[in-house]
C-alpha cells in the first residue's frame, strides 16, 4: 500500500561523478523492480521521485544524480538522519520466465539492477548490459555482463544502442527491458521491433503528485490516450509509446 514512511539514512556515498547512493532503513517497506519512491526535500515544493535500486530486509538503496536543490539536500544527509519518503509508486516491471536482455543507460541502470536481481532470484536466465558516458560515470560496485562507454574509456567504445543488434543476435532474448534517457529508449525499441522482440521500458518525467491526479507527467500513447508516467508507468510496453 502507498503511504508516507519515516525512514532513517544508513549511508550516503558517492557512486560516480555526479552519482550517489543513499541507503534508507524503513521497516515494512517493500517494492518491486521498476517502482519508485518520492523523497521530501527541505525547501522544495515537490517531492523528488527515484527508482528503487534495491530493497531487501527493510533497507532501500537509491542511486541518484546530482541535479539541483533536492538532490543536493539528499546528498548532504548523514547517517542517522530522518528521511521522509512516500511510495511505492508506479507499476514496476512485469517479469517473464523466458530469457531476457536487460539494458541500463546512465543513472537508468538503477531500476534494472533491481530487475536483474529479481530474475536471478526466480532462476530466469537474463543478461544485463550498461552504457555510460565514460568510466567515471559508472556507479561503483555494480555487476554488469557488458559495459560500453561513449569515449571507450572502459568496455566497448560507443553508445550501448550500437551494440544492440549483436546482443540480440548472440543472446536471442525473448524480451528486452530497459531504462535510460528517452533517446536511448527510443532507439532500443526501434531495434527490438525490427527483430520482433517485446520491450518493457521505464520512463522518466518530472512529477508533482506521484499518484496520477495532477496529470503533470502525462504522455500520449500510440492509441491516442494519455497515460501518466507516475501511475500508469513508469514501466510501459515499448510498443505503446508514441516517440
Amino acid at each position: 500500500m502507498k503511504k508516507i514512511y519515516k525512514g532513517r539514512v544508513t549511508e550516503v556515498k558517492q557512486a560516480a561523478t555526479d552519482l550517489y547512493y543513499i541507503k534508507i532503513s524503513a521497516a515494512n517497506f517493500s517494492a518491486n523492480a521498476g517502482q519508485f519512491i518520492s523523497v521530501l526535500c527541505d525547501n522544495c515544493t515537490l517531492r523528488r521521485p527515484f527508482s528503487v535500486m534495491d530493497c531487501e530486509n527493510g533497507v532501500i538503496t537509491i542511486l541518484f544524480k546530482l541535479k539541483g536543490k533536492g538532490t543536493n539536500y539528499i546528498k548532504n544527509l548523514k547517517e542517522g538522519d530522518d528521511i521522509d519518503f512516500s511510495g511505492p509508486f508506479g507499476n514496476g516491471f512485469s517479469l517473464t520466465d523466458k530469457r531476457s536482455l536487460i539494458i541500463g543507460a546512465g543513472v537508468g541502470v538503477a531500476p534494472v539492477l533491481f530487475l536483474k536481481k529479481e530474475f536471478d532470484k526466480k532462476g530466469v536466465e537474463s543478461r544485463i548490459i550498461g552504457g555510460f558516458l565514460n568510466k567515471d560515470a559508472i556507479p561503483a560496485n555494480i555487476n554488469l555482463d557488458m559495459i560500453s562507454t561513449d569515449d571507450g574509456s572502459l568496455g566497448k567504445k560507443g553508445s550501448i544502442v550500437n551494440f544492440l543488434k549483436d546482443e540480440i543476435k548472440n543472446y536471442a532474448p525473448y524480451r528486452i527491458y530497459a531504462c535510460g534517457p528517452s533517446i536511448v529508449l527510443e532507439k532500443i525499441c526501434e531495434t527490438a521491433s525490427q527483430y520482433g522482440i517485446q520491450t518493457q521500458i521505464a520512463m522518466e518525467k518530472e512529477m508533482a503528485c506521484s499518484i496520477g491526479v495532477c496529470r503533470g507527467c502525462a504522455i500520449t500513447l500510440k492509441n491516442g490516450k494519455n497515460a501518466t508516467v507516475c501511475k500508469d508507468g513508469p514501466v510501459f510496453s515499448g510498443e505503446d509509446i508514441k516517440w
Binding site: T45, C209, K231
Partner: protein
C-alpha cells in the same frame, strides 16, 4: 467532538477544509493515505462537456516557492464523470463539489443543466483557467462577461453556485461584485497566477532554454491570495473560500483574518498527501485545547481581536 461545521450561505460542510480542483483528482487516489470522507469537501478536477486530452509538451515546473502548471484541463468529460465517478463518491460518502469548465458560454449553461438534473448540490465555476486559450479566461477577466455567464448558469442551476476567481485582473473587487450580483452563492479565490518558468542550461558552448507558461501555485502565491481575499471580503457579503499556498494551521488563521470562511488546500496535497485530514485534526485540537465551542466561534474571535487591535 468539536463542532467544525460551516454554513456557507446554505452550503453546509462538516468542516471548512476543502481540497482544490486539479490537486485531488476524483479523490480515489488518496484512499491509501487518509480517509477522504473526513475532509469538508473535495473539489473535483475541472470537468468539461466533452473529454479533453489537455496540453502537450511540458506541463509542470517547480519554481523557487511553488510550481507552475499547464495541464490544459485534461479530464474525462461530464458524461464519464456522472457514470463512473459520481456513484463511487456517493457510495463512499465523500462530500464533493463539482468544478466545471466550459469552452464556450453555451457549454457552461449545458454543464449547469446537467448538474441540475443530476442533483449535484454544489458546483464551482472555473472562470479563470490560465492554460486554455479559448473559453474560461475571458469570462473571468471581464466583469460584464462574468456577470452574464454566472447569471445564465444561475438560471438553470438551483444548487450552490461558487464562482472561482482569477487573480490575473486589474481589480478583483469588480469581478467579485459582478459574481455576487449575478447570483453566485460563494466566491472561491484565488486560481493560479499567470507565470513563466524558465530554466537555462549551458552545454558544450551553447545555451538552451526550457520554458513553461502557465499558472503558479504553492506557497509563493500566498501573499497574492491574502490580498485578493481581503479585497473581495470588503466588497461582497457572500462567503469566501480562500486558497493559495495554504499548508498549515497558521496559514488558515491568516486567511480567516482577511475574510475567508473556508479554505482549499491545493499544491500542498502533492507534497503532503495527508495534509487535508491533518489540518482538520489540527484545527479540532486547537479549538478544543483553547476552549472554543466551535470553528465559528474561533473564526469570530480571530476577526474580533484583530478589529480591536
Amino acid at each position: 467532538m468539536v463542532d467544525l461545521s460551516v454554513n456557507l450561505n446554505g452550503l453546509i460542510l462538516k468542516n471548512p477544509i476543502l481540497t482544490a480542483s486539479g490537486t485531488y483528482g476524483y479523490a480515489d487516489e488518496y484512499d491509501d493515505f487518509l480517509s477522504v470522507k473526513n475532509i469538508g469537501a473535495i473539489v473535483t478536477k475541472a470537468i468539461s462537456l466533452e473529454p479533453r486530452s489537455g496540453n502537450t509538451g511540458r506541463r509542470i515546473m517547480e519554481t523557487d516557492a511553488g510550481m507552475i502548471n499547464s495541464i490544459g484541463l485534461e479530464n474525462m468529460g461530464i458524461k464519464a464523470f456522472l457514470e463512473n465517478v459520481l456513484p463511487k463518491l456517493e457510495e463512499e460518502r465523500i462530500s464533493y463539489i463539482v468544478n466545471i469548465a466550459g469552452a464556450t458560454f453555451d457549454e457552461y449553461i449545458e454543464l449547469g443543466k446537467i448538474c441540475e438534473n443530476s442533483r449535484i448540490r454544489a458546483i464551482e465555476l472555473n472562470l479563470s483557467c490560465p492554460n486554455v486559450h479559448a473559453g474560461c479566461l475571458e469570462f473571468g477577466t471581464d466583469e460584464g462577461s462574468l456577470y452574464s455567464l454566472v447569471n445564465a448558469v444561475r438560471n438553470v442551476y438551483s444548487g450552490k453556485l461558487i464562482a472561482k476567481l482569477t487573480p490575473n485582473v486589474t481589480d478583483i473587487t469588480k469581478i467579485a461584485i459582478a459574481a455576487q450580483n449575478a447570483g453566485a452563492d460563494l466566491i472561491s479565490a484565488i486560481n493560479t497566477v499567470k507565470a513563466s518558468g524558465v530554466r537555462i542550461s549551458y552545454v558544450r558552448g551553447k545555451f538552451y532554454q526550457e520554458r513553461i507558461n502557465g499558472g503558479l501555485s504553492g506557497m509563493g502565491i500566498k501573499p497574492v491570495a491574502l490580498r485578493a481575499v481581503s479585497s473581495i471580503s470588503e466588497a461582497v457579503n457572500i462567503p469566501i473560500i480562500g486558497m493559495g499556498g495554504i499548508s498549515s494551521l497558521n496559514d488558515i488563521f491568516e486567511f480567516i483574518s482577511v475574510g475567508a470562511d473556508a479554505f482549499q488546500i491545493g499544491t500542498a496535497n502533492f507534497t503532503h498527501p495527508t495534509i487535508a485530514e491533518d489540518l482538520v485534526n489540527q484545527l479540532a485540537e486547537f479549538i478544543e485545547y483553547n476552549g472554543f465551542a466551535s470553528y465559528e466561534e474561533l473564526k469570530n474571535k480571530i476577526r474580533e481581536d484583530i478589529k480591536n487591535e
